[in-house]
């Protein structure tokens, strides 16, 4: 299945500085946590993840066509 992955702000370093890209995944079911592990994004560096714009839990299963947005932690405001 094909998905779109967006690693925002400093997290793009985990994909050779590419923030937004399409990605072909094998047919197996995959959760957001497993996807992050594939890119070696530490969970501690992530504030929250959205699938198609909606904030989700990390055990959320990914479907073909999803857009996964991974937001970094922020401090201050």
């Amino acid at each position: 299945m094909e998905i779109t992955l967006q690693l925002k702000g400093p997290l793009k370093k985990y994909a050779d500085e590419t923030e937004l890209f399409r990605l072909e995944l094998d047919g197996n079911e995959l959760t957001v946590t497993e996807l992050l592990q594939r890119f070696e994004v530490p969970a501690s560096s992530v504030s929250f993840v959205q699938v198609n714009g909606i904030k989700i839990e990390l055990d959320h299963p990914i479907k073909g066509g999803d857009k996964i947005t991974v937001n970094p932690r922020v401090a201050g405001g």
């Binding site: 400093p10 997290l11 504030s47 929250f48 937001n71 201050g76 405001g77």
Partner: protein, 584 residues
Amino acid sequence: MAYMDKILRVNLTTGNSTTEPLNKEWAREYLGGKGLSIKYLYEELKPGVDPLSADNKLVLMTGPITGTLVPNSGKLAIAAKSPATGTILDCSIGGHFAPELKFAGYDAVIIEGKADKPVYLYIEDDKIELRSAAALWGKGAHETEHLLYDELGDVITLAIGQAGENLLSMACISSELYRQAGRGGIGAVMGSKNLKAISVRGSGGIKIPDIRKFSAAMNKIKREDTMTDDNMWAYTDGTPMIVDLSQSTGILPTRNFQEGTFDGYKAINSDAVKRVLKAKKACFACPLACSNYVKMGKTEVEGPEYETLALCGSNCGIGDMEAVIEFNRLCDDHCLDTISAGNTVAFAMEMTEKGIHDFGIRFGDVEKYLTMPTLISTRKGVGADLALGVKKMAEKFGGGDFAMEVKGLEIPGYEPRGSWAMGLAYGTADRGACHMRAWPAAVEAFGDIDPFTSEGKAELVIGMQDSNSVKFSAIWCDFWAISTERMAEILTLLLGREFTAAELTIIGERTYNLAHLFNEREGFDRKDDYLPARFHNEKLTTGFTSGKSLPKEEYEKMLSDYYQLRGWDENGKVTAEKKRALNL
């Protein structure tokens, strides 16, 4: 040592200036910055003092880390009794003024009295002069800084614009054109003293016990703990990144907090800022360089920061980046706090649309919106009413149910119906609605703590308030997510005596309690720790927070929990036992 052990005291009524030793006992109990400036004000101000009278004092306070190689140490605390709220008020401002003041030989400047004519204060090491500001009065902060630079050469300046001269409760103090001590009318305190600007140049330095060891340690910490995933968002994006986070979690203030999402958010988010970005800028000793210098059409500004994008963008129904940049530039030049100005314009828009009072401006009206900063700061036309700020406008014209303020300070850019602890943070912040005393939105709305429960929120907010009180006393920038343990390690290296995280936490708690005691002495209690009725009575209808409110009984429960955990009584008063425990 890291303290200069010297305070400059300037009396504007007499024109005299004197120096005195820093009170070492107080410095041990409060470090510097926020805590130490509040301590001086608590001891020196008479209860009930008029914030705009000669009897109020303005304190500029550095901290032990200021002017050193410690990362993110470029901030200055500026404190006084607030003209907006009547509470204690401490602000922090970045740039290079704070280190320059220490290089001139001072930990702090305390300004008293009132000049009979406009003056500016010039500090060059031991040379202290009050000079006429007749040629500067009436000018914006930008021109003021340029003129002083032309006259004095390489100085760093704090200045006020027309808003400060005209004593607005939303007047800020500006430095290096685009940095502000923003909230609570701190600029009006300067204006009330006829003090247009303070320029400083210092030729000294700061002694460090073992500079090789210290320098190596700072480089290591910078690499391993500052320039990391937790903090580099500040460099890659800066605060505009928060627009998307707030939109997707339903906490982006929209049309005077009527909603938590904004259809036009893509026009004012970080991607939109990056499209017009010209350069990144940093404060002294900062590797994160969070500031974005942008240019678009005929306008340019250092910013706009998230608070400006939210309060002057979505909250005014303005999905137009060029308009927000120009509004931001005008506010900076006139020295209007963009959080309060955005809220005030949004309140006028809703009042007009609801037919309660016609201020002649509606949501999304870019043309009228761009006239507002000048009209407000000069109190001209409709600006004379908006210059009152939201609380006094509501008292005069109505609309109290949607007057978005706490204690007279307008609400920052995080909708508490989607982050309940944020509501508690606003209600219990020592200077009125403030997101810098505690920012639980980061771990609720943007994290994995349930935002829609009152359970555990008092503990969360207290921990953040105490930790930030240490951070802003040392004085670090908010944007380094530094642990208390790391703060203790750095202060130990710098000051040559052992600090522990536990000791710093007590300093933080003592500071927050002292600020509260200041307010208590001014008559504040539980009745003042309210939230606007809108947050309790109206449910949001869009996005992630659709159907959500913050019910009053849940808020009151959090507040009672908070007082209990703080060791305060049910009416929010610090108990005798707590005072003894904290040596207050």
